[in-house]
Symmetry: C2
């Protein structure tokens, strides 16, 4: 296994202005892993409960190596959130950790050789413990969310020291660093010991930071946005998947990986839940990358 | 005169977290005109009161043709606004129209041959009346603001029919069209009869729309942002100034003009009030365009 993705697999209830989805397959690692799977064989480390629907297991199995998927007594992690009319703000209505609460992730032997590892927005202490179990990591990347920034900031900072790249959305970067300027946010995060910082800005694209290099990239404008759930995770999964497929981590390749991130995010928002990713193929991605290159040229 | 800019000249009070500026030179046409003046000789149509400081008149005179500047009995238009800590939200504390209230703009004879005309965020009825006084307009562009959208929406729509391009910020585009998706916003505006729509997104850059072409461009990331006042006007002024200097209005040139818009906006935010524009020269612009091209390449 060249790439391992560790994170949550969930049953999501997503309330959008146009549709309500109940208990659909979701979770940061699900989106990131499936997004990465278009580029490379991807191993998943996650946990589900006995209630996890067979059809969802089938979807995961068709896309990912599941040797790292634990099935525990109890219910699968559940998330319930509601978008506003403009799809720009999501309010969490309910979170049930369930089997995620006391999950102790184990890295399968055949994953330990992964040179690329993506740690989704898990407990930062758990991420730090997990990354140490890999023998020959060439490039590791993590994300984090408001919950950990608010409850375990020191651990988040410690986690950043342990990885090569931090991918984080703009609001969370501001919250974490107490800066409002994104360059200042990124500098602070780099000062904490990570080499690459990628700030995700949703529809506005992303900015990659490395030493004194700044690489801003636009988001691909999309008209039929129906559900932004998982777009950021799809972005991260595409980045790490692309890098793994290239077996390279030079700056030019990392820049390019953020373009793949924007493109996979653009697919994600066009479908409800995972639909946007599940209905495409490699050719669709290739075409959209070409479109991205074409429309941004001047 | 190849380019005429019509709009407000103001005495601004700007309250930023780091500095309060009292009665400094500002106004949409001031920023747009001075920004355009780096590219081409620019004629200003505006009004000031008898209280307008000589030193500000000198600044305008050193950059712009002032045959169209009326001096009226009374006080100059005044604006007072306060930014929040993050510089992302500005609250208007006070607006005094003063001489702007009953201003009847007159187009000087030698401006009537202008092939390029920029109508800043003036009363839309006034903009419509004014554009008709030009004999051979090749390309006209207008902006608008929340005040006119809220009080004279029909006139705003009518104005859009009369111009070749509408430049508008994202929040105002959403307010006007009652759409939250920027592509949908732009389509609605184009349906009203304008050919080009440029949606400004502040630090996130802009998106240009023309027929089925979409051209998104990033904002240049800037670390030392001190005052965003006039950045959007500087963007528009740079666009029209660049187009006038090229005497071209094909799509490729208009695309390029939005890059100049982003770059001039990036200078504007680095100084208080007009400082950011007044301290640069053509070489600084050239260098920053080269920087923009370099950092966005992938």
């Amino acid at each position: 296994m060249m790439l391992t993705v560790f994170g949550s697999t969930a049953l999501d209830t997503i309330r959008t202005p146009t549709k309500v989805l109940k208990d659909v397959l979701g979770g940061a690692a699900t989106f990131a892993g499936i997004s990465a799977s278009f580029f490379v064989n991807t191993g998943l480390i996650a946990v589900i409960g006995k209630d996890f629907p067979k059809k969802y297991h089938k979807i995961l199995a068709s896309r990912l190596n599941l040797d790292g998927l634990s099935v525990k007594n109890g219910k699968t992690f559940r998330y319930d959130g509601k978008y506003d009319e403009t799809l720009s703000t999501r309010t969490t209505l309910r979170t049930e950790l369930n089997v995620l609460e006391n999950f102790h992730p184990v890295v399968p032997e055949q994953y330990k050789k992964s040179q690329f590892v993506y740690l989704a927005n898990n407990d930062p202490d758990q991420n730090v413990a997990l990354i140490k179990e890999f023998d020959r990591v060439k490039f590791s990347m993590c994300d984090t969310i408001e919950f950990w920034i608010s409850t375990k900031k020191a651990s988040v900072v410690k986690m950043f020291k342990q990885v090569d790249a931090v991918v984080i959305n703009d609001e969370e970067a501001k919250l974490l660093t107490k800066e409002s300027n994104l360059i200042k946010c990124a500098k602070k995060i780099m000062d904490w010991g990570t080499e690459y910082v990628i700030i995700k800005k949703g529809q506005h694209g992303s900015i990659l930071f490395f030493e004194d290099v700044i690489f801003p990239s636009v988001g691909l404008p999309i008209e039929n946005v129906v559900d932004p759930t998982g777009a950021g995770d799809s972005f991260a999964g595409a980045m790490i998947g692309y890098l793994t497929s290239k077996k390279k981590t030079d700056l030019a390749t990392i820049k390019k990986s953020t373009i793949y991130g924007n493109v996979m995010g653009s697919f994600a928002v066009q479908g409800y839940g995972l639909e946007g990713l599940l209905r495409i193929n490699k050719m669709d991605i290739k075409k959209r990358i070409a479109l991205y290159e074409k429309i941004t040229r001047f």
